[in-house]
Structure formats: structure tokens, C-alpha cells
């Protein structure tokens, strides 16, 4: 089951560049939350702070508190542990090129020392079904490499790989921006089904996409969160002038 995320006074830097400033927000469990805003506004940095991927960059720094469920992720737990609870899907599909489809999905478990074949088989099948890829690949799970799939299939493979470690939260950083419209529609359908089981945070450039998949939407601008509300409210009656300007296409 998904858990809620509580962000308090979050600040993040790359070197001297203050990319996130005083972010406060509560992301509800088992809902999809969309983050929108122009390029470079800090939304990707924000999601990377939620699984501590931000700090894999040696010049990056973070202050503030992020609670996921009842864990303070910057104090109670190591980065490696939190990343097992908070899965991530990146903008460009990034399957492991030398691994089969099966091994790609099983990678998270295998690399953490899990080796029970029966259980692995089950989890791989379940994850691929959850990511709506099973029917397309079930016949060559171990024959084909993850890199031999189409872009849209690769992205669903990456989603299956993230789901296989059974996370509570799924972060998606522009998961459909490198895909064609048909694949995008499939990913969006998937988000709809997945939010029953996971808390989903999705960064997107596509405002229609935010409106289609998310209950809540946050608008970021220049490293600050301008507004956070129900998606309906943001797109029909935003409280802030800057949000209105952005969603009506006056800038960005």
C-alpha cells in the first residue's frame, strides 16, 4: 500500500545554485500527484530529493525534512534503504542493456541477494502484468534483451523493474516525454491503475497529462512551489496569477 509524503522546509542546492527554496507540501497516499512548471523550475530536483537520488551528485546538498509514511528519510534510514521503498522511473527509458527482459525486472531483487527462483518468477510475471507489458513479452522473457524492445515497451519495462521491489511510492520524472502518443496513453492508463496500490508523484511538461492522471497538482516556478491544490482547482480556478499565466500558456 502507498504511504503519504510530508515535506517541510525543503531546500536543495547544486553547488551554489539554490535550486529548491522552502518547499512545504503534503502528498496524499494512494493518489497521483502531478508536478508542473517550466524547464529548470526544480520539479525534477524535488522528486530526486524524495528518494535521495539528489545526493548522488557530489556537489548537491539538501536541508529540511521529508517524511515518507512514518520515516524521516534523511535521518531514520540510509539512501539505499529508502530507494527500495521509493521507486523511480526516469525520463528516458534506461533498461540494463546486457540483461534479458526477465533479468531487468528481477534486477532489484537479485542484486539485493534475493534468489528464490519460484518467487522471482512470480514477481517478474506480476510486475510485468502490472505494467501492462506481460502479453507483449511473455514468450521471450529470457531470450531478448531489454534494449531490443521499442521505446514505449522499454519504459513499461522500467516501470515493471521499479514495481518488482514492491515500493510504497513511485516517482515518475517525465515518464512519457520521450514516447509517442500511443505509448503515452498506455503509460497514463497504467498510472490510473497503479495508484490503487502506490502513491504516485509524476513530473510532467504536459498539462493535459497532469489533468488526466492526477488528483492533486503542484505548480513550481524558479525553485519555489507557487501553488498546490486539487488538479481541478489548479486548472479551472488557480489562486495565484503566475499559475494562471502558466496554464493559459502566457509563458513557459
Amino acid at each position: 500500500m502507498g504511504v503519504g509524503i510530508e515535506v517541510t522546509n525543503l531546500n536543495a542546492w547544486y553547488g551554489t545554485n539554490h535550486t529548491l527554496q522552502d518547499i512545504n507540501l503534503n502528498i496524499p497516499a494512494n493518489h497521483a500527484t502531478a508536478l508542473i512548471g517550466p524547464s529548470g523550475c526544480g520539479k525534477s530536483t524535488f522528486v530526486r530529493c524524495l528518494n535521495r537520488m539528489h545526493e548522488t551528485n557530489p556537489i548537491a546538498r539538501v536541508t529540511g525534512t521529508v517524511r515518507i509514511g512514518d520515516l524521516d528519510i534523511y535521518n531514520d534510514i540510509t539512501p539505499v534503504e529508502i530507494r527500495r521503498r521509493v521507486g523511480m522511473v526516469f525520463q528516458r527509458p534506461n533498461p540494463f542493456p546486457t540483461m534479458s527482459i526477465y533479468d531487468n525486472v528481477a534486477a532489484g531483487l537479485k542484486l539485493n541477494g534475493y534468489s528464490n527462483r519460484h518467487v522471482l518468477d512470480e514477481i517478474v510475471e506480476k510486475s510485468l502484468k502490472n505494467s501492462a507489458l506481460w502479453d507483449e513479452v511473455k514468450d521471450d522473457l529470457k531470450k531478448k534483451s531489454g534494449a531490443s524492445l521499442s521505446g514505449g515497451q522499454q519504459q513499461r519495462l522500467c516501470i515493471a523493474r521499479a514495481l518488482a521491489v514492491d515500493p510504497e511510492v513511485l516517482l515518475m520524472d517525465e515518464p512519457a516525454s520521450a514516447l509517442d502518443p500511443v505509448s503515452t496513453a498506455k503509460i497514463e492508463d497504467l498510472i490510473f491503475q497503479l495508484k490503487a496500490q502506490y502513491t504516485i508523484v509524476i513530473v510532467t511538461h504536459n498539462m493535459q497529462q497532469a489533468a488526466r492522471v492526477a488528483e492533486k497538482t503542484g505548480f513550481f516556478l524558479n525553485g519555489r512551489m507557487v501553488e498546490f491544490d486539487s488538479t481541478h482547482k489548479i486548472f479551472t480556478n488557480p489562486a495565484d496569477k503566475r499559475t494562471e499565466d502558466y496554464i493559459t500558456g502566457r509563458f513557459g
Binding site: R83, T98, N112, A147
Partner: protein, 287 residues
């Protein structure tokens, strides 16, 4: 107007043909020396190849016949010892340079040292190993293996580093985001992704030292009898070829040609075998 188009099209086709021709010519020039050497070796050496060559040891001076069985086996042993030293140290060094030490002073020092080591003439390497290993002990197959192994290290190390740096950042991030510890991600994901290139680097280093004579003169020393004992002087194909080629006897000259042919064929076989074995696990579509 139409004629002008036609003329331009014909010019483009001409230039295209010219460029393609140059590329083909260059390819031929690259392959030609290898083919020429091989043909010449077959011409000079094949007639002296017989079962005795692969099963007998050298006959004393003056007696006709004999073979290089001891040198073939000796080379195999020396190369095995060399690879056991050079490959693990080289790969580990490359992993350090690319993954753990990137940007540190130690890494820069190691990289510089490897490049200098790569440029050390093989005869100097032989003398160095002579004073470090042979002088405290004695001439031995082991010291020959050490000399070859040390020569392999820089090539293996630097190719491993280059190949690891070519693995896309996205692949590393994917592993880290799954909650895989960094060391595990490096060993199981990054190194695995780069393994075809790393294997090529090892093969290059192997093929290069397989033909080395100079570092063995002062170490393995050569042996005209059977010797598979690492603690004793050991025969090696390049050494045997060297000694026979410098001798005044026609029969030995013929054997030297045959030895050279066998050496090249064995290197080709070893490289092809490793390629075959390691490519079987690779899946279609992986690049």
C-alpha cells in the same frame, strides 16, 4: 535548369564513389600486412610442420628433426601466469580509475603511471623483473610470467577505464534508484555492461605479450628440455624462435619459421575462443 540538376547529381554520385573507393582502399591497406605476413609464414613454415613439431622437444645441434613441444607448452604456462597477474590487477585498477577514484589525485597518479608503464620498452621490463625477482631467486618460469603480467596491466587497466566511462549515466542511476548499493551496482551493472569492451582489452594485452621475447630473456630464460615447473627455467615460443633464427643451421631456420606460424595461429585461436565463449551469453539486441 534541369541540366544543371543532372550535372550536380552526377557530381555528387562521382564524389560519393570516390569517397567509398578511398574507404575500401584504406581497409585493404589495413588488412594487407596481416595477410601478407600470414601467407609468407605459411609459405616458409608450413613445410616444416609435422607431428614431431608438436610432440618432440628440440634435438641437439647437428641432429635433424625435433620439435618445439616444450616451447608451446611453456608459452601457454607463461601466458596463463601472466594473465592471472595482469587481468585481475588491470581490471581492478580500471574500476578504481573509472568508478571510485574519479577526479582524485591518487587516480590521476595511477593513470599517469599506467601510461608511462605502457611506454616502457619490453627489454627494460625484462631487466627490471630480472633484478626484482630473478636476482633474489633464480631464472624461472614464474619470473617470466610476472614479466608478462606486469606488461599486461597498463593496457587492461586503461581499456577497462575507458569502457566503464562509456557506460551511460542513466544505467548507473537506474541501479542506484532500485536501492542497490554503489559497490554492487558498479560490479554487477556497470562492469557487466562494459564487459565486451573489457574482454577486448584483455585480449589485446594477451596477444601483445604472447609474442614478447625481450622480457623473457632474463626471466624464463628458455630451456631445451621439458619443463613445466614454474620454479625452473622454461621454454617459450618467441625465445625458441629467436634462438633458432639467429643460429647458423638451415634446419633450425626452418623450425623458427614453423614456430612463428604456430605462434600466430595459437594467438588467433586463443582470441577467437575467448570471443566465442564470451559472446554466447550475450543476448540479441544488446549493444
Amino acid at each position: 535548369m534541369r541540366d544543371e540538376h543532372k550535372l550536380k547529381a552526377r557530381m555528387r554520385a562521382g564524389i560519393d564513389g570516390l569517397a567509398t573507393g578511398l574507404a575500401v582502399l584504406s581497409t585493404v591497406l589495413v588488412v594487407a600486412p596481416l595477410v601478407a605476413i600470414f601467407i609468407y609464414l605459411v609459405y616458409k613454415g608450413a613445410s616444416s610442420l609435422n607431428l614431431d613439431f608438436f610432440t618432440k622437444i628440440p634435438k641437439p645441434v647437428g641432429e635433424v628433426g625435433g620439435g618445439m613441444a616444450n616451447a608451446i607448452v611453456g608459452s601457454a604456462i607463461l601466458l596463463a601466469v601472466g594473465s592471472m597477474i595482469g587481468v585481475p590487477i588491470g581490471i581492478a585498477g580500471g574500476i578504481f580509475l573509472a568508478e571510485f577514484g574519479r577526479g582524485t589525485r591518487l587516480a590521476n597518479a595511477v593513470r599517469f603511471t599506467a601510461d608511462v608503464l605502457n611506454g616502457v620498452p619490453s627489454i627494460v621490463m625484462g631487466i627490471a623483473i630480472y633484478s626484482l625477482v630473478v636476482v633474489p631467486t633464480h631464472f624461472s618460469g614464474f619470473s617470466g610470467g610476472v614479466a608478462l603480467g606486469v606488461m599486461m596491466i597498463p593496457t587492461v587497466c586503461r581499456t577497462t577505464e575507458e569502457m566503464l566511462l562509456m557506460v551511460p549515466h542513466a544505467v548507473r542511476e537506474a541501479a542506484l534508484a532500485l536501492g542497490v548499493p554503489n559497490w554492487r551496482s558498479v560490479l554487477s551493472i556497470t562492469v557487466k555492461t562494459a564487459s565486451p569492451g573489457i574482454i577486448t582489452g584483455c585480449m589485446l594485452a594477451f596477444a601483445r605479450v604472447a609474442g614478447e621475447t625481450a622480457p623473457l630473456i632474463f626471466t624464463a630464460f628458455g630451456n631445451s628440455n621439458w619443463s613445466t615447473n614454474l620454479n625452473e627455467p622454461m621454454a617459450a615460443l618467441p625465445l625458441q624462435i629467436y634462438v633458432y633464427a639467429l643460429s647458423p643451421y638451415d634446419d633450425w631456420h626452418r623450425l623458427a619459421w614453423a614456430g612463428a606460424l604456430v605462434l600466430i595461429v595459437l594467438i588467433l585461436l586463443a582470441v577467437s575462443l575467448v570471443r566465442y565463449v564470451t559472446s554466447r551469453g550475450v543476448l540479441k539486441g544488446a549493444s
